[in-house]
Symmetry: C2
Amino acid sequence: MSYFDAASSAPLHPVARQALHASLDEGWADPARLYREGRRARLLLDAAREAAAEAVGCRPDELSFTTSGTRAVHTGIAGALAGRRRTGSHLIVSAVEHSSVLHGAEAHERAGHPVTEVPVGRGGAVDPGEYARTLRPDTALACLQSANHEVGTVQPVAEVAGVCHQAGVPLLVDAAQSLPWGPLVPEVPDWSLFTASSHKWGGPAGVGLLAVRKGVRFAPPGPVDERESGRAAGFENIPAIVAAAASLRAVHAEAAAEAARLRELTALIRARVPELVPDVEVTGDPELRLPHLVTFSCLYADGESLLHALDRAGFSVSSGSSCTSSTLTPSHVLTAMGVLSEGNVRVSLPAGTAREEVESFLGVLPGAVAGVRRKLDAPAAGAPAAAPPAEGLVVDSLGKRCPLPVIELAKAIGGVPVGGTVTVLADDEAARLDIPAWCAMRGQEYVGEEPAGRGSAYTVRRLS
Amino acid sequence: MSYFDAASSAPLHPVARQALHASLDEGWADPARLYREGRRARLLLDAAREAAAEAVGCRPDELSFTTSGTRAVHTGIAGALAGRRRTGSHLIVSAVEHSSVLHGAEAHERAGHPVTEVPVGRGGAVDPGEYARTLRPDTALACLQSANHEVGTVQPVAEVAGVCHQAGVPLLVDAAQSLPWGPLVPEVPDWSLFTASSHKWGGPAGVGLLAVRKGVRFAPPGPVDERESGRAAGFENIPAIVAAAASLRAVHAEAAAEAARLRELTALIRARVPELVPDVEVTGDPELRLPHLVTFSCLYADGESLLHALDRAGFSVSSGSSCTSSTLTPSHVLTAMGVLSEGNVRVSLPAGTAREEVESFLGVLPGAVAGVRRKLDAPAAGAPAAAPPAEGLVVDSLGKRCPLPVIELAKAIGGVPVGGTVTVLADDEAARLDIPAWCAMRGQEYVGEEPAGRGSAYTVRRLS
């Protein structure tokens, strides 16, 4: 079994396990109490805060432990917005933030406040100039992830932080994916709020980090208590906090060497997958990327079947395809990038992944994709079928799920002459993303989308 | 060392430790994922939910795991209030709820909504009739703890739940202190929402329970995600959840025998402390009480010094005295009960406490109290000093902290004739509680309190 979904949750680091075991006996009492057991717990908590603050690059009194990265993000956004109420309520997020940031933005929007989503390019990165242009006099907070969790693209955080700093707007940096690879500081001196999540670096679940720089106005939302500077109500899970801090230090000590090693392995996947599997799009920035993460999409395959095939072959990966989400919409990240979403596979290697495991994955992948395509009766790679003359062909894919609309388009395109069009009627959300992506990959012209009685009509012109 | 503060946090139960260790290897992956590690994590989570729901007395799909009891309470209150918005926004709480409930009520009040605090008697219990009279047509939610966390008094939850049920008002029961001793059901069939906290029963920190009965309108507050029925956003800490559920079952299996044993030990403390220590008030209901918890207050002693003296002697207890809180006000529970707050000691025995430990505590206590009183130059128990004639004596205790105003009152009372008065000027919040309590204990008449330029003037008439 090879677990290739570290971006979702990393297996527990040995140091985390050790620290957890060691602190179970010392860390269960209330650190607010004056007696011996309480003082011991307080010492552990203080030491963990020192260690984590050093790893983040902030002062210990700027750092609160929350109960998850999600909670850190929700509290960070709501607290910063409330603290800047007098300036305004405009919130800026990138279109490819983690869902916890977007959920925070949605809640803010539902409450009647303005939110701007900054778009990204096909590589997944925001443009700092474009980000700067969204800043307004009433902007209360801006959010930008340090690196994307689905395609691995590293964001221009330093530039955006500088721009925000100049405008006097605090920037919240969700560093959940990058913190395992090193601190934000000194590279990004101008951040205002910082969030991260322990189980992403091999610490236990149940611990998030929220740092709020001195001088940043912050009013914690909802009912609070006296714990964690009033920023995370509820009894602290000190053994988990100790384990999180200890493993973060351990992970950082190994980060440079491990990053270099995993970067080679993901580079291998990036290079080999398009050679091994026909009709594949590798997504994300090829250079400015996380070392351990690579994502690609396979035309004419559905993500869920592909995941199951790889799982049966012993590989655990995730997917941003619509069929693997409960909402049946493709990942918002792939959507914002405008790249193919069908047959999407994210590989994120945990620390210690052996080259052999990656090679074995590359050996298994082509057969898995081919098997899924065969079941879906996908068109063979390359030439379309012989072309009976027809103009303005309409393909009814209503009620059919990704990747079927694209498969039917690919089969139909051979049925019109060069210059002719095929219009696909589809009500699956993924079609909006995947039909233009197919056109780009196949060198056909995407004419556009029009609303139809049910779903949409996507028109494609045959160019070759 | 004897740890006697289980009501604050219980040491980890051996079953919790075992379950935690066992699930670290299986429970770290994302239970929402489709691959093997995710499915394993999901199985663990589902099994833990079944076990915890059985222990609570609810359906598994009614139960969500939160990250603390505090979070369960905050979410429970806010979600129930939001769900009943159309009925009204009136919230009822008892005056002796846990601070997490009162913080929730304060947040609701700050947002402009009506809150009613139901008073308690000197024993610490609400009167169901009085509770019923606070129900209004616009009451959205009522809250009542199952038992008090500071004095151990068991609340008439079944009666209050019945009354609320009849009125169509949901009742949130904070069962944090009583769940270690058994489920709410079948005794209280009519609850609507239920909260509890794992580290109170010897499970790990970082796990709370929130149950919402089917049919109760509930709209989770703030940004949510798809985890835990949308009631607890953020990645689940499955090893801790597994350990919490396993230890709850184990604790319940031992509960009846252990409750009987500890009830004898706390009864011993209740009986012996007033014999061993002069000028003591034992608080809380003598019969309807938690088995493991007993609280008493010592006149002319300050809680902090007493805690330190007991800590040095090897006993860890907590205190509701003003000097042990960061706000320098006495515990809101003691205040609501109108009992003495100075020299307050709460003893809450963890499961397994040996009779010898309790006897040893009773051996140490009188000396500890006497030592603290000596340092404060407290009056000797019994007769006041010789009485020079004086009427309307004024004692200036401004700027002096609990228990000094009461000590100075006790010394001065001998300076006025029977029928004469002593007026104490004090600006320490504890005086408001402790001067009337002293009068009741000493058989003197408490005349009343009037605002003074700084602080208040408390007048006492000498009766004997």
